[in-house]
């Protein structure tokens, strides 16, 4: 978006914005994580940090969001924005951006965040970098948007020099949410946008929530046990679940295991799946395609169990066992049970203590 001004004149675009994504009355984790990074960028640019919250009856959420470090929240309260729908949200965001001209807008790279950002960047004709893992400010004051390319084998620095705002999306768990401080002071501003019922061009007929069988989701777990093609049969994922249960962890899978129809897509770790950064990632029967690495290489510790000593994942392992997973995993379960007799094996820091 150049807005009739000369392309080189960007000075009237000021401020860092974070799109605050809410679902069923709660802020998405990725949004709170982005507030922390947004704060850093706003400070580096000597400007303010604003959260944008479209929704309906969300004032409480706006006040809560401030505590993560926002200078203000712009609330757009409209019943047509009650839950996420592409066109009403894109219309609301484009009107706000044209009105206020922020220099940076950050989105969570959730399904809805990508749906929104993709539509919006074409409407505004400005740059949008997907799945950024790091940001810097370059010497000219541009946002250096750093994202993995080719499944994580390299990092590309994306600049959007002439167009504003500079927009970027970030996946969940790339940044750590800042502490919530109830005493943090920020302003709540209510604004309106032009929306009519005609803008609602899609109807949500039904929603079926995924059942949480194992309890913990991999993205939330301190220990993740990932299973790959080496498991040979979907039945064997039950064994991984047993191991995960003993460690207070969650089960995930490689793309090959998902493509084989063994486990649902929602458990897939990697480039086209989710990103996890647990304290311990246990890769069982996963050779380690770059696409898988992209989703787990930021794990604090990596344990690899594979029969093939040449499996690429051993290259990034902190610990490894070269051997038959059908012997190793049951033996781990057995010994963990034995240890439990004298004290439970748990993650080093329980989740509730963080």
């Amino acid at each position: 978006m150049t807005d009739g001004h000369g392309l080189e004149d960007k000075s009237h675009f000021r401020g860092v914005w974070v799109f605050l994504e809410q679902r069923a009355g709660r802020l998405r984790d990725v949004s709170t994580q982005l507030i922390g990074e947004g704060r850093r960028l706003a400070d580096a640019r000597g400007t303010s940090l604003t959260g944008i919250l479209p929704g309906h009856q969300v004032d409480g959420l706006a006040e809560y969001a401030v505590g993560y470090g926002l200078d203000r929240v712009i609330v757009v309260d409209n019943s047509l924005l009650d839950f996420y729908r592409s066109r009403p949200y894109a219309e609301a965001m484009s009107q706000l951006i044209r009105r206020h001209k922020p220099e940076i807008v950050l989105f969570g790279a959730s399904k809805n965040g990508r749906d929104l950002g993709g539509r919006l960047h074409a409407m505004l004709e400005t740059g949008l970098a997907a799945d950024c893992v790091k940001f810097d400010i370059d010497a000219e004051g541009n946002l250096d948007m750093i994202r993995p390319s080719f499944g994580g084998k390299s990092l590309a620095h994306i600049l959007c020099k002439k167009h504003r705002p500079q927009m970027a999306s970030v996946r969940r768990n790339v940044f750590v949410a800042p502490p919530h401080l109830a005493e943090w002071k920020g302003e709540i501003v209510h604004e309106t946008v032009e929306l009519s019922p005609k803008d609602v061009d899609t109807t949500l007929l039904d929603f079926q929530e995924f059942t949480k069988e194992g309890g913990l989701r991999p993205e939330e777990a301190d220990i993740v046990v990932g299973g790959g093609y080496g498991l040979a049969d979907p039945k064997n994922f039950a064994m991984l679940q047993e191991l995960a249960d003993r460690l207070g962890g969650a089960v995930a899978a490689s793309r090959k295991a998902v493509d084989s129809g063994w486990v649902p897509k929602m458990l897939q770790v990697g480039q086209t799946g989710m990103t996890v950064r647990p304290k311990l990632y246990i890769a069982v029967g996963i050779s380690g395609a770059v696409q898988h690495l992209a989703g787990m290489q930021e794990s604090e510790k990596i344990l690899v169990i594979n029969i093939d000593p040449k499996a690429p994942l051993f290259d990034i392992a902190d610990y490894g066992i070269v051997g038959d997973l059908f012997e190793i995993v049951p033996e781990m379960i057995r010994q963990l049970d034995a240890l439990k007799a004298g004290g439970a094996a748990r993650p080093a820091v329980p989740a509730e203590a963080r």
Partner: protein, 274 residues
Amino acid sequence: MSTAAPDVRMLRIIVCIKQVPKAQELQVDPVTQTLKRVGVPSEINPPDANALELALTLKDRHGAEVVVLSMGPTSFDESLERAVAMGADRSVLLTDRILGGSDTVPTAYALSETIEKIGGYDLILCGEETTDASTGHVGPGIAGHLDLPQITYVSDIRIVDGKVRARRTAEDGTEYWETAMPTLCTVNFGCNTPRSPTLTGKIRVKRGGMIVHRSCADVGIDPKKVGLLNSPTIVAKVDTVKLPPRAGRIFSGEAMDAVRALLETLIRDRVIVP
């Protein structure tokens, strides 16, 4: 040319595809530390192949004309031929030197203009993202340009009473959406198994005329809005990722001994606490 009654127009589905290097073949050159691209075989971007399969399924169910659209060099003909051999009715390649280096904004613009030129469409399908750039921005970008309803991350589509009903996968559940046509949907990677080319399809390709090349001038694309110089984003530089060195302690021997040594180490390193 349709045999249907004149008042019953056949459904027209446009599927946008990209040709990408086969992901599993990508390797980093150990000397230059850059990606080896030369000689890497290509394929239809896998999520786009799922979009095509979904279009062909809808054709099987309801009858439809499936038009495949791509933008890129003429080497993309390979993928368009495959799409036709799989069952697409025809294909269009937008190919023009001035498009080189376009990011997602000009790409969405140029594809939108070409879609308008094809015209008469009811449904536009794209893959959820490409495996080489993985932004997922072009599909919603086209919907934004054409001002169409959009439903992303779709695994299945039914056409009921002239409307699209789509099953969308969110992070926490499955959503069922309905919208009027024309509309744009992006299709989940792996939601179906793309069919193989058929002999009849291959013969149609052999006969020729299944791929039409179009330049920007043919379509009426503004040269000032496409290409590297008219893209909002640039890749300033690319760093090779150097992962932090990891301890790489490998335990071996009998399963019982290896596991005992491993667990002792994990406990000592406070990765797990007994």
